[in-house]
Every structure is written in structure tokens, then in C-alpha cells.
């Protein structure tokens, strides 16, 4: 028994055990999933240490793998295998660290929840699936665990199944990602037809011999699957709704790990995309579009989790932009740092929600004074996401911007810079609204307990430190990486600072133009011209911008959603029409049958030739 097998197997066993146990017993045995997670974490660290650091050790120990034959199709054995390489080793760490943090955090956050045992069971199953996906040495196992993750996501979004919104959101998420999966599945079939194997090294090794047409088709089909899972435009619509699930689950699945699986898929199969060329351009364009659109939509949300959800979509767009330059480390490094700071932000948001019992930022305020630890850690996450030196987000985002510039994608570069500006703006908006000023409707906050805080502290440390690994990371993945240059870093820092500055100007010191506008009568507005300037600014700068963002939001809700939903409606319509044919009179049926016999005989005869 290989150590690689044990890593996903242990959480999986916990799931099966919990599945069989009655609810009351499960609730008492929560130490099991957490213990399993800890064992997986330790084993992952051991696995990591066998391949780290650098190329020579990889050549020596790397690509350990275990293979099993699960069936024979048409005489060809169907193997599944686990394989450890640099990419897999890194992802192992991300999944187990964030997974561990979330499980500890959930102990307090989900306390008293009746179905907490089931929650932990699904979390374990999810972790097992994600670890299998990361270690998968072939696309078949990859796809299987990909689907299991989709199932877990569905179960966790709909965890509060008495809530109608959550139920709808879970179905929407499942169906939307399934749309992407159809592409993925067809891509795999095409791959099998082309190569006759699912083994990742075999497939990737032969990618350059397929010819550009085939490579483009397969790459785009795979990317379509990635778009569904990683919520890229126009398949992003499920992720904001997915926030109806428990917050820690959102942190793990819909921020740090599962949604990054699409990025991981593209990173894994990058040689196919490179063989195509066109596919890389598509990845770039989709990534850039998503990054900008989602960032602008994030700036008009009032629900703190929705802001973070749009932010996740936008950051995933960034990762795709990084991969679109054909450089694995650019995309993957951002995935790596993002996993830490975004899960940190989600856990922080959870801590605030837990304390204030609302998700509406308009009702929050002044949290900074009462929740010291949450505030400090959340601020770290905010600065990391905004891309401020020396927090990790700065380094990873800069790597992407740097590659975009160097490869000559100037338009995409400016789109990315604009998205970075918006990112800093909406995070500042969120921060000032929640932490500064005085408490509003939701009242005073109180600090959460240590089970909630300690994972956040660990993640905050990682969010700070991860940036220091820039060079090691690049070397480990086998690509040239440098520290951000002064010009590039300077440009992005200025952009980020001005985003934060705009956020401060509009929302700092407890100002809230949106709330003021709602309250202020015309007289009040004129009298208190202290606000006058702000209102002008809001009206002409932010207002116009807000309207635009709302338009984008509307377009997203009505048109994109409409098209995706429309397919389903059309299917149902077709069914209803068919039902009409079924009038129920047997004479009509018999006539139809006789007519059908005649037509079929005629077709057969004509096809044979008289």
C-alpha cells in the first residue's frame, strides 16, 4: 500500500463510515473526520517532502505512481493511476491545509446544527475527491473525482434543505456545472478516440502530433468543462447563488479548492493548449472578460458573501489569464496564494456573520473595535487580495501581469490592470463599510471563539508568507520566475492604492453614499453640504460607474441566466408538445401505426433501390 493511496482513502473511509452510522452517533464522533484530515495533511507533507525541492529530486523520487486496472473496454485495459509530481504535491498541500482549517473552524461555526454529522461526512467525501483529482494520473480518474466533487458541492450548497433558496441554488449549481461537464466528457471521448489512452503523460506527450485542429477541439472541450467548474463567463452564474450554503463550506469549496479545479485542469493539460495555440487565446480572452465583469459586479453587491463570490470568479479569471500566457507557474502561483487568502476572507466573513447574524453590509459597521482578531486577519486577507506589497497576492498577481506584458498581450494586460483596480476598490468598500464607522442596524459584534479564530490566524500567516516563495515555487514547477520588476510592481501598486483610495473616499469614516442617498431629503442634502461633495462624487463618478455595473449585473441576470435557463424551458416545452400527440383514442393510434409501417417499408425499399 502506497502512501499516495492513503491520502485520499482515509477521508473517503470516514465518509463511508459516517454514511452508515445513525445521526446521533455521527454527531458525537466529529473527531474522526478532523483526525482523518490531520492524517492526510501529515501524509501530504511527507509526500511533498519526497519531491521537494527542485528538479533533481523530482527526477529521483518524483512521478511515483500506482496503477490499477478497473475494466476492459473493447479489448483495451482501462487503467486508473495515482501520480505524484510537483503540481500534484503543491495542490495536496493547498487542499489539506485549507481543508484542515475549515474543519476546525466548522466545529464552532456549525455547532448545534442538527445535521452536522452529515456536513462533516460530505466535507470528508469532498476532500477525498479533491485529493484524488489532484493525484490522478489519468483523465478518467480525474473526471470521476471531478464529478464526485460536483455532487458534494450540490449537497453542501443545499445543506439547509428546508430553505427554498438554498435548494434552488444547489440545483442551479449542479446543472450549470453539468453543462460544462458535457464538454469535458465529449473532450475525453475525443481524446480516447485520438490517443486510445487516458494516461496523462501519454496523452500530453503525444499532444503535439495531433495536428492543430484536433488539439484545438480537445483543448476547447476541456476548457469548457473548466469554465463550468471554475465559474467562468458565461457559466459563472451558479457561484454567487452557491453562497446559500454554509460559509465554511463556501470557503473550502467555492473559494479555495473545488472552483480552482478548472484552473488545475487547464494547468495539467497545458501542452494540449500549447499544441493548439488558438485555445490559449480563448483561455486568455475568457479569463480577462470574466475578471473584469465579475470585479465590476462585485462592486455593487450588498451581501458580504456575494462580494467575495464575485471576487472569486474574478480571481479565477486572473488565473486563467496567467495560464493563457502558456506559463504554468503564473496561473498556479495565484491559485496557491488565492486559496489561502480567499479562504481566510470567507472564514472572516463567516466569523462576522456568526456574530452579527446578517450578511447585509448595509447593516454592519464598527466591527473593527469589537472583533480585534477577526479585523486584523481580515485586513491581511484584504491587502493580499488587493495586491499590496508584501502580502502574497501582490507577488502572484504581479507574476501574471508581468507575463501578460512580456508576451505582448497589451490589451489583456490593461484589462487585468483595470480588474486589479476594481478588486482593490470593492475590497476597500467592503472593509470600510464593515469595520470602520459605528455599529448600524445589526448592533455590536462580539469576538468569536478560538476554534474559529485559530484557523484564521494560520491562514493569515500563510497569506503573508506565501509571497516569499515566489522563486522557489517557479523553480519547483520548472519555469523561470523572477521577483516583480520595479516598474511592473510599481504600476500595479499604484493601481491598487488608487482603488483603495477611491474606496476610502466614498466609504471611509463611516460614510455611506448609498445609505445617505436613500435617507437624505433635498433640504437635508443642501443644508448638510458636508456631504455635498461626497454626493457629487458619488453621483458623477461612482454613480455612473454604479449604473454601468448594475447594467452589467442586469445583463448577467436576465440575458445570460435567461439563455442558460432557456435551454431547460425549451426541453420542457418540447415534452409538453409531445404529450399533445398522445390524445388517447385507440383508432388514431392504430392509424398512426399502420401509416408508420407503410412509411418504414417505403424507406427501406427506397434505400435498397428498386
Amino acid at each position: 500500500m502506497n502512501i499516495l493511496v492513503a491520502i485520499p482513502l482515509i477521508p473517503a473511509l470516514v465518509f463511508f463510515l459516517f454514511f452508515l452510522l445513525p445521526r446521533a452517533t455521527r454527531t458525537k464522533m466529529l473527531f474522526l473526520p478532523i483526525g482523518a484530515m490531520a492524517v492526510s495533511l501529515v501524509l501530504s507533507l511527507m509526500a511533498f517532502s519526497t519531491v521537494f525541492p527542485g528538479a533533481e529530486k523530482l527526477a529521483e523520487h518524483g512521478a511515483q505512481f500506482t496503477s490499477y486496472t478497473i475494466g476492459v473496454i473493447g479489448g483495451v485495459p482501462l487503467n486508473i493511476s495515482l501520480r505524484l509530481d510537483a503540481l500534484a504535491a503543491l495542490m495536496l498541500l493547498v487542499v489539506t491545509i485549507v481543508g484542515m482549517a475549515v474543519q476546525v473552524y466548522s466545529l464552532s461555526y456549525m455547532k448545534g446544527e442538527e445535521r452536522i454529522g452529515w456536513y462533516y461526512a460530505v466535507l470528508s467525501l469532498f476532500t477525498a475527491a479533491m485529493l484524488t483529482l489532484v493525484l490522478a494520473g489519468d483523465f478518467l480518474l480525474f473526471y470521476m473525482s471531478w464529478e464526485v466533487m460536483g455532487l458534494c458541492s450540490y449537497l453542501l450548497i443545499g445543506f439547509w434543505n428546508t430553505n427554498d433558496e438554498a435548494r434552488r441554488a444547489s440545483i442551479k449549481a449542479f446543472l450549470t456545472t453539468r453543462v460544462g461537464d458535457v464538454g469535458f466528457a465529449i473532450g475525453l471521448a475525443y481524446m480516447w478516440a485520438t490517443v486510445g489512452s487516458f494516461d496523462i503523460p501519454t496523452v500530453l506527450g503525444s499532444a503535439h502530433t495531433w495536428g492543430p485542429g484536433v488539439a484545438t477541439a480537445i483543448a476547447l472541450l476541456l476548457f469548457f468543462g473548466a469554465m463550468g467548474k471554475s465559474a467562468q463567463f458565461p457559466l459563472h452564474i451558479w457561484l454567487p447563488d452557491a453562497m446559500a450554503g454554509p460559509t465554511p463550506a463556501s470557503a473550502l469549496i467555492h473559494a479555495a479548492t473545488m472552483v480552482a479545479a478548472g484552473v488545475f485542469l487547464v494547468a495539467r493539460s497545458l501542452p494540449i493548449f500549447e499544441a493548439s495555440g488558438v485555445a490559449l487565446q480563448v483561455v486568455l480572452i475568457i479569463g480577462a472578460t470574466t475578471a473584469l465583469l465579475a470585479a465590476s459586479m462585485g462592486s455593487v453587491q450588498h451581501d458580504i458573501k456575494k462580494v467575495l463570490a464575485y471576487s472569486t470568479i474574478s480571481q479565477l479569471g486572473f488565473m486563467f489569464m496567467g495560464l493563457g500566457t502558456g506559463n504554468v507557474s503564473a496561473g498556479m502561483f495565484h491559485l496557491f496564494t488565492h486559496a489561502f487568502f480567499k479562504s481566510l476572507l470567507f472564514l472572516g466573513a463567516g466569523s462576522i456573520i456568526h456574530s452579527l447574524h446578517t450578511q447585509d453590509m448595509r447593516e454592519m459597521g464598527g466591527v473593527g473595535k469589537s472583533m480585534k482578531v477577526t479585523t486584523v486577519t481580515f485586513t491581511v486577507g484584504t491587502l493580499a487580495l488587493s495586491g499590496i506589497m508584501p502580502f502574497s497576492g501582490f507577488f502572484s498577481k504581479d507574476l501574471i501581469l508581468d507575463h501578460l506584458w512580456r508576451e505582448g498581450h497589451y490589451v489583456i494586460y490593461s484589462v487585468a490592470l483595470a480588474s486589479a483596480f476594481l478588486t482593490a476598490f470593492y475590497m476597500a468598500r467592503l472593509w470600510f463599510r464593515v469595520f470602520s464607522g459605528t455599529p448600524r442596524k445589526a448592533g455590536h459584534a462580539h469576538e468569536s471563539d478560538m476554534k474559529i479564530l485559530s484557523p484564521m490566524i494560520v491562514l493569515a500567516l500563510l497569506s503573508v508568507l506565501a509571497g516569499a516563495t515566489t522563486l522557489v515555487f517557479g523553480e519547483f514547477l520548472g519555469s523561470e520566475t523572477e521577483w516583480p520588476s520595479l516598474v511592473m510592481g510599481g504600476a500595479s501598486t499604484i493601481v491598487a492604492l488608487s482603488g483603495i483610495g477611491l474606496g476610502w473616499a466614498l466609504f471611509g469614516n463611516g460614510r455611506d453614499p448609498e445609505a445617505v442617498r436613500a435617507r437624505a431629503s433635498k433640504v437635508y442634502m443642501i443644508v448638510t453640504n458636508r456631504f455635498f461633495l461626497d454626493l457629487v462624487a458619488e453621483q458623477y463618478i461612482a454613480g455612473g460607474y454604479n449604473r454601468l455595473s448594475e447594467k452589467v449585473n442586469w445583463f448577467d441576470k436576465k440575458v445570460i441566466n435567461g439563455i442558460v435557463n432557456g435551454v431547460g424551458v425549451a426541453c420542457r416545452q418540447a415534452g409538453t408538445q409531445l404529450r399533445r400527440l398522445q390524445a388517447g383514442r385507440v383508432q388514431v393510434y392504430q392509424r398512426l401505426v399502420v401509416a408508420a409501417v407503410l412509411v418504414l417499408v417505403l424507406v427501406a425499399v427506397l434505400a435498397t433501390g428498386v
Binding site: 475494466g71 476492459v72 473496454i73 473493447g74 470521476m144 434543505n161 435548494r167 440545483i171 453539468r178 458535457v182 465529449i186 431547460g568 426541453c571 420542457r572 418540447a574 415534452g575 409538453t576 409531445l578 404529450r579 398522445q582 388517447g584 385507440v586 388514431v588 393510434y589 392504430q590 398512426l592 401505426v593 399502420v594 408508420a596 409501417v597 418504414l600 417499408v601 424507406v603 427501406a604 425499399v605 427506397l606 434505400a607 435498397t608 433501390g609 428498386v610
Partner: protein
């Protein structure tokens, strides 16, 4: 004499059918069902024990296909046994079960003989023996007008298509000058052979509920007792499809024209069945439409006209029968409408989760066995060059997820006014003996286990079938 030993399994079932007719003297429905279940189980085992000759009755029955015929005969008997075991536990919703048990067993004898039929006469007789009891079963709740109406429609449509088929068979006899299976000697232009083949196939397609011969199915399913639907929609479909592919492989000439006709039916059946299934709110009607789409998938394999295609078609129908049988048995004890099964997971978690397995197998979701069935026919059709139909079929199987999820959602959401407090549903059937939920539950779990586990040995089973059909 020893050669007749091969028919002992059929004889056991036949004797049990006659015994069941006298169930009144023996003690009622449960005894009848138990006798039937025991006999069918015994038959399923005995099939493997008796010596197998090449042919019987001057080649009217042949057993040359070795393990395949044994496997199918044993499988049909085994499924019947499981079904009757369930009947013994639950009764036949709302009606007396004893005659129904006898009819089931008669139909099973017909199905088992049909597997080895190798003469036009035995083919036709066995096919009718297998379906005649089915008409009665579908109209079994005689006080219910809908049941009678559905059964009458079924009868009229089936008889009509059987006539067309008999007409076709008469041509086969005319051309070959004898009724044994041998390649058709087409006297005259080539199209004549093709036209004859189409006429013969019509009978089978109607039994398989393929479009455009499907009109009766939803109405009949909705009116009939659910237990009858379970038998007719599942077990009674296995033998005809094997008889059909045998006829195609041994007698009827393969031609592009015939393949095209079958392919047209397939491409009509698949979307029609799946789209119509999406809007149903009654599981019995949904099963009717999903059966139509399944017939479409089966025909993809038939149209490929290769041993692999034929084998996968038979395999698909057989494994589909397992899952549909299970699903309909769940429906038979809970009621067919979505309101009836609402909150099922709370009341009967085992039944609900088993139903999830069945549904996943029906829509062909890996690793359930239905997936391997569909994979087989799709790859056979693809190899035969039918790219567009395969594409349509693949896309439609994604849509098929919709109706499965509709049922699952119904089962997993608490219904309004569902009797959650008592935990016991309102009884839908009125049997005269106390029910045995543990026994019924066992049958349902076994069927779910088969829906999952057969997938593991799908490949060897298909290649075994393939070897016998090439």
C-alpha cells in the same frame, strides 16, 4: 429421452403456474406467490444443471448458443423469482394476486422458450405466449376503467403489429419453403427481402415499445396496477429482444435499408421518450416514456448490425429490466405520483436510496450497469459509422438526467401533508395477509445491488453474448 431434460426448468415454472391457479385450495395469494417464487428460483438454478442438447423437436428449439441461452433463461427465471418474492411480501396492489401469479409464470415460460426458439412457428407461438398473459395483467384491476382501457389499447395495438409480423413471416416461409431458421433466400429483387424484414421487425419493435409503435404504453402504464407494470415493462421485454437479434443474425438479410429504418426509429424514440418523460408527474408514465427511449438506444445497437451491436442491445435491455423492475416495485408499494413519493427518504430510506440507484442506472450514469449498456450500443453504432445518431443519443442522455432528478427531488423533499409523524404511509394495497416489509425490502436491495454490481462484469457478459451471436 435424456435430451428433453433441458426443458425441465420450463416445466418447473409451468407446473408452478398450474399449482398457482389452485391457490384457493392451498391457502391464498401468499402461498401462490411463494410457490411461484420458489419454482422460478429452482428453474433459474436447474437451467445450469441439466444436459444441453444441440436441438429439440426437429430444430424447432435450438440450444447451440451455449452459455448465452442458459444465462438468459436463468436470468429471466431469476428476475421472475425476485418479483414473485416481492409479491409474496406485498401483494398485487388492490387486487387478488393468485391468478396474476399464474399469468406471470405462464408469461415467463413463454419468455424462456422464446430464447431457444429457432423456427418461425415456435418464435411466433412463444412470443404470443409471453405477451398474452401481459394483456390480462395490465387490465388486472377490472373495476378500474382506466386499467381496462389501457389494457385494451395494449391488446389492440399489439395484435395489430403481431399481424403485420405474421404477414412478414409468411413471406419468409414462402421464400425459404420451410420454417426453420436459415438465411432468407430472396426470390426476386433485393428490396423484397428488406420489405419483409421491416414487416417482421414491426412486431418486435412494438413489443419493445419503440416509437412510432408506442402510443399505448403511457395510458396502459398509468391505469394498470404497478406490480403488473413492473413485470410487463421489465421482465417481459428481455426475451423478445434476444429473439429479434437472433432472427436478424440468422435469417433476415442485413442491408442499409433495414439499418436505416431501425436507425430512424431509434432517432425518433430517444428524444421523444426523454422529452416526454421530463414533463411527467407520475412515475409510471415516466417509466413508459423512458422505456421508449431505452428501446431507441437498443435499436442503435441493432442498426449497427454487428455482433457487438446485437450483444450490447440485448445486454442493455436485460440490465434496464433489472433497474425498472426495482423502480416499479418501489412505486408499487408507495404509489406512482410525485405526491405519493414525496418525502420517501424519511419514511423508507432504503427504498428511496435504492430508487436513486435504479434511476441512475436507467439514465446510464456510471458506475451503474445501465452506463455500460448504453456505452456498448453507442460504441457499436459509432464503429458502424452512425456519427450523428450517436451524437444525438449522447446529448439526449444528458437531458435524461432531468427526469431522474425530478423523481429524486420528489423523494427527497417532504410532501405537503405527508404522514411524517406516524412514519407509516397510507396503505396503497389491500392484501388479505399481513405484509412483510423486510422481505420486500430485501428484494429491493438485491435489485439495487444488481444494478450496481452487474456493471463490474459487464464486459465479460457482453463479450459472451457477442461470441454467441457472431
Amino acid at each position: 429421452m435424456q435430451q428433453y431434460a433441458v426443458l425441465i426448468p420450463e416445466l418447473i415454472v409451468l407446473v408452478a403456474a398450474l399449482v398457482a391457479l389452485f391457490a384457493d385450495l392451498l391457502g391464498g395469494d401468499r402461498v401462490a406467490a411463494m410457490v411461484g417464487a420458489a419454482a422460478a428460483a429452482m428453474a433459474a438454478v436447474v437451467v445450469w444443471l441439466v444436459p444441453v442438447p444441440e436441438a429439440l423437436f426437429g430444430s424447432m428449439l435450438t440450444f447451440t448458443h451455449g452459455t448465452t441461452t442458459l444465462m438468459l433463461r436463468s436470468g429471466i427465471a431469476g428476475l421472475t423469482s425476485l418479483f414473485l418474492l416481492w409479491v409474496a411480501a406485498r401483494g398485487w396492489a388492490g387486487v387478488r394476486a393468485r391468478e396474476a401469479v399464474a399469468l406471470t409464470l405462464f408469461s415467463t415460460v413463454g419468455s424462456m422458450l422464446l430464447i431457444s426458439a429457432s423456427d418461425l412457428v415456435t418464435l411466433f407461438l412463444c412470443l404470443e405466449l409471453a405477451t398474452m398473459p401481459a394483456y390480462v395483467l395490465m387490465g388486472y384491476s377490472a373495476e378500474d376503467k382506466r386499467s381496462l382501457e389501457g389494457a385494451l389499447k395494449y391488446f389492440l395495438m399489439s395484435v395489430l403489429t403481431s399481424l403485420v409480423m405474421a404477414y412478414g413471416l409468411s413471406f419468409v416461409f414462402g421464400m425459404n419453403q420451410h420454417t426453420s431458421y436459415s438465411p432468407l433466400q430472396v426470390a426476386g429483387p433485393a428490396w423484397l427481402g428488406v420489405a419483409v424484414s421491416v414487416l417482421v421487425l414491426v412486431g418486435f419493435l412494438s413489443k419493445m415499445t419503440a416509437a412510432p409503435f408506442h402510443y399505448w404504453v403511457p395510458d396502459a402504464n398509468e391505469g394498470a396496477p404497478s406490480a403488473s407494470v413492473a413485470f410487463v415493462a421489465a421482465i417481459s421485454k428481455i426475451a423478445p429482444v434476444y429473439a429479434m437479434v437472433r432472427l436478424l443474425a440468422e435469417v433476415l438479410p442485413t442491408s442499409d435499408g433495414l439499418s436505416r429504418v431501425v436507425m430512424i426509429c431509434a432517432v425518433v424514440s430517444i428524444p421523444l421518450g426523454i422529452f416526454a418523460a421530463l414533463v411527467q408527474t407520475d412515475v409510471r408514465r415516466m417509466v413508459a416514456y423512458s422505456g421508449i427511449s431505452m428501446a431507441g438506444y437498443m435499436m442503435l445497437g441493432v442498426a449497427a448490425a454487428t455482433p457487438a451491436g446485437y450483444a450490447s442491445a440485448v445486454f442493455l435491455v436485460a440490465v434496464y429490466a433489472v433497474s425498472v423492475l426495482g423502480l416499479m416495485l418501489v412505486v408499487a408499494q408507495e404509489g406512482g405520483t410525485f405526491a405519493d413519493i414525496a418525502g420517501l427518504v424519511k419514511r423508507r430510506p432504503v427504498a428511496a436510496w435504492s430508487a436513486v440507484v435504479y434511476l441512475f442506472s436507467i439514465i446510464g450514469f456510471p458506475p451503474m450497469v445501465g452506463f455500460y449498456g448504453k456505452l456498448g450500443v453507442l460504441s457499436a453504432a459509432y464503429r458502424a459509422g452512425y456519427f450523428i445518431p450517436v451524437l444525438i443519443a449522447v446529448l439526449m442522455s444528458v437531458v435524461a438526467g432531468g427526469y431522474a432528478f425530478a423523481v429524486i427531488r420528489a423523494m427527497f423533499t417532504p410532501g405537503e401533508g405527508a404522514p411524517e409523524e406516524t412514519g407509516i404511509p397510507a396503505p396503497v394495497d389491500a392484501t388479505e395477509y399481513p405484509q412483510a416489509p423486510a422481505l420486500a425490502g430485501t428484494v429491493i436491495v438485491v435489485l439495487a445491488g444488481l444494478s450496481l454490481g452487474l456493471g463490474l462484469i459487464a464486459e465479460p457478459l457482453i463479450s459472451l453474448l457477442q461470441a454467441s451471436l457472431s
